[in-house]
């Protein structure tokens, strides 16, 4: 399998330059806030944007090289690009869309993506999930050397998203070509990609597996992006452990060593919720009003004072906890990290 190499691919954007160095072997996700330059990176690879500097190659085939003035036209780069809005041709049927690149029957692709029954339909009449499958079939029917996905799940509603995400996982794992996908959702990235690159203001802030990013976020931004609560406070070392006084006066303990103003990261799933004062090994307790409870599927997120805890919907029912009630949020010092 050829590797996609990006070597200092630089594209000037409005307020900063995109400057990306990346090797894509299997599935890599570029994650980051909107406007971080993620989509621009895909456009540069596909040849739709010309970088100011850098080099883009797949295996030994050079697609762009500023120093040797190599710049292949988009139609000469074998990329399968799935657009965020899918960009299906509205005046063609599903079959014509999928066969556009092949110029020969693409029944196997219609079959593989379960869209054979839609072959004569026009894209405007399809649902979001169906459009996604057509777009993916069309991109892969081109026999690409690289697959690029721009926010593949952003256009879908919550329910469809879960189904499509599972489908996409299956497809991507069996492809055998480098896949670069762009998303602003860390969870989607974690579900689809083996390696995640967090891009902020055009630069890679940190890269690794989802687990590595959660375990050792490089900074507060990566921590919050991976879903952590961020607590600002003042740290001092008391008898070997670090005590941090938060803005509201609560004192929490962390196993990391630090002094002075710090930011602590605590993941919602590391926080337990109780109605009565808890008696366990957890060092940190926040006693505050439950400000909100939002359920996502079988999980629920509770905002208690400065932290958000994630517990099962079942636990919420068992505790009988309601917004406005006082509750205890507890988390371990070892799960409270200085970032």
């Amino acid at each position: 399998m050829a590797t996609l190499h990006l070597d200092h691919v630089t594209v000037p954007l409005r307020t900063f330059d995109l400057d990306l160095t990346l090797d894509v072997e299997r599935v890599v996700a570029l994650v980051g806030p909107s406007g971080a330059g993620k989509t621009t990176a895909l456009q540069a690879i596909a040849g739709l944007t010309t970088p100011a500097h850098g080099r883009i190659a797949v295996g030994s085939e050079v697609w762009f090289d500023q120093t040797s003035r190599t710049n292949l036209a988009p139609e000469r780069r074998r990329t399968g690009l799935v657009f965020q809005d899918y960009a299906l041709f509205p005046h063609m049927t599903v079959r014509q869309n999928v066969e556009y690149a092949r110029r020969r029957p693409a029944d196997e692709y219609l079959e593989r993506f379960g869209i054979t029954h839609l072959r004569d339909a026009h894209p405007p009449s399809l649902s979001g999930g169906e459009r996604q499958r057509v777009a993916l079939a069309r991109a892969l029917a081109r026999d690409p050397e690289v697959l690029l996905l721009d926010e593949p799940l952003a256009a879908l509603d919550t329910h469809t998203k879960a189904v499509v995400r599972t489908e996409l996982q299956d497809v991507l794992s069996g492809l055998g070509i480098p896949v670069l996908l762009v998303t602003h959702d860390f969870e989607d990235a974690a579900a689809l990609a083996g390696r995640i690159s967090v891009v902020i203001d055009g630069h890679e802030r940190q890269a690794g597996t989802a687990g590595e990013l959660v375990a050792r976020p490089a900074d507060a931004f990566v921590a919050s992006f991976t879903g952590a609560n961020l607590l600002h406070g003042d740290a001092e070392i008391v008898g070997g452990s670090t005590r941090v006084t938060l803005a509201n006066g609560t004192v929490v303990t962390t196993a990391d060593e630090a002094q002075g103003p710090v930011v602590l990261a605590v993941y919602p799933w590391d926080i337990t919720v109780a109605i009565a004062p808890p008696h366990d090994s957890a060092m940190n307790v926040v006693h505050a009003e439950v400000r909100s409870i939002s359920e996502i599927g079988n999980r629920a997120r509770l905002t208690i004072g400065p932290v958000t805890a994630e517990i099962t919907a079942e636990s919420v029912a068992r505790l009988g906890v309601r917004p406005g009630q006082l509750a205890y949020a507890t988390f371990k010092a070892t799960g409270t990290r200085v970032v």
């Binding site: 988009p74 139609e75 990329t79 399968g80 690009l81 960009a87 041709f89 069309r138």
Partner: protein
């Protein structure tokens, strides 16, 4: 509910406006029976004018589409130094008095004109020929097609063009398979408008091509020439032009709805949204 003053005022105004708009058309058909219309079609003056009109119009529109479509695509997709000037040049015939357009064409292509000696050395003399009629019609009608075509091209989703390119189609194939089919409704609407404007051309034609029966006398010119001699023929020709205009207007509507069914954004003429 009692009708408001506004409702009453708009209703009265609408009735007055529509009556004034409808009366001339009704009057033409009130004065000329279908039998007279058919009979007048065998009148040599009417027949010749109809043939000259249709022939020059069709050729003029072909030229407009042939040169105007790529030009419109260029103006819709590129911004370059002098872009604004190019747009002014494209739109100028729209606001220029037709008589001035005629003088301009004569000054450019006439015997004494800018290109007159060059054309003469090639053995070409344009004024008072059918080519001159075609040129005058094309000059005056082209903005209606090109403006509408630019608007239609500007509406095509840039992502669809990009998608076509990443799927291996070069710029040419992308234009033929994606851009043109998506813009076809807008292009058809522009063509209908341009055709209607060209059929009615009078001022520029009479200045540049004169009014010679069988050669340069188009329907509007024949109407003017026959006006005080054969009023029946005049009415019949008027009837023919009204019918052609109605057909073209229907074509325009169909063109716009065609575009609407294949495009996600609503179509527009001159950038104005036309919702029905």
């Amino acid at each position: 509910m009692r009708p408001t003053v506004l409702t009453v005022v708009s209703l009265v105004a609408a009735v007055v406006a529509l009556t004034v708009l409808a009366l001339p058309v009704i009057a033409i058909f009130a004065h000329t029976s279908p039998a007279n219309l058919l009979e007048q079609l065998s009148n040599p003056v009417v027949k010749d004018a109809l043939v000259v009109s249709l022939k020059t119009s069709v050729i003029a529109q072909l030229l407009i589409v042939l040169f105007g479509t790529p030009a419109a695509y260029l103006l819709a997709t590129r911004r370059f130094a002098g872009w604004g000037l190019a747009i002014v040049l494209v739109e100028l015939p729209l606001v220029l008095p037709p008589a001035v357009a005629g003088i301009g064409l004569l000054a450019a292509f006439g015997r004494m004109g800018l290109l007159g000696s060059t054309l003469e050395s090639l053995g070409i003399s344009l004024p008072f020929t059918q080519t001159a009629v075609t040129l005058a019609v094309a000059y005056v009608a082209s903005p209606l097609y090109i403006r509408t075509a630019i608007a239609a091209f500007e509406r095509t989703d840039a992502n669809l063009v990009a998608a076509s390119r990443t799927l291996g189609a070069g710029p040419g194939r992308t234009f033929l398979r994606v851009v043109l089919p998506l813009a076809r409704g807008g292009l058809a609407a522009g063509l209908a408008l341009s055709f209607a404007r060209g059929l009615g051309e009078f001022g520029a034609t009479i200045m540049f091509a004169g009014s010679l029966q069988r050669v340069t006398q188009t329907l509007p010119l024949a109407i003017y020439a026959e006006f005080d001699q054969n009023f029946d023929a005049t009415l019949a020709m008027g009837g023919v032009l009204v019918l052609l205009s109605v057909v073209l207007l229907a074509g325009l509507r169909i063109g716009l709805s065609w575009q609407r069914s294949t495009s996600t954004t609503s179509p527009s003429l001159f950038g104005l949204s036309t919702s029905t």
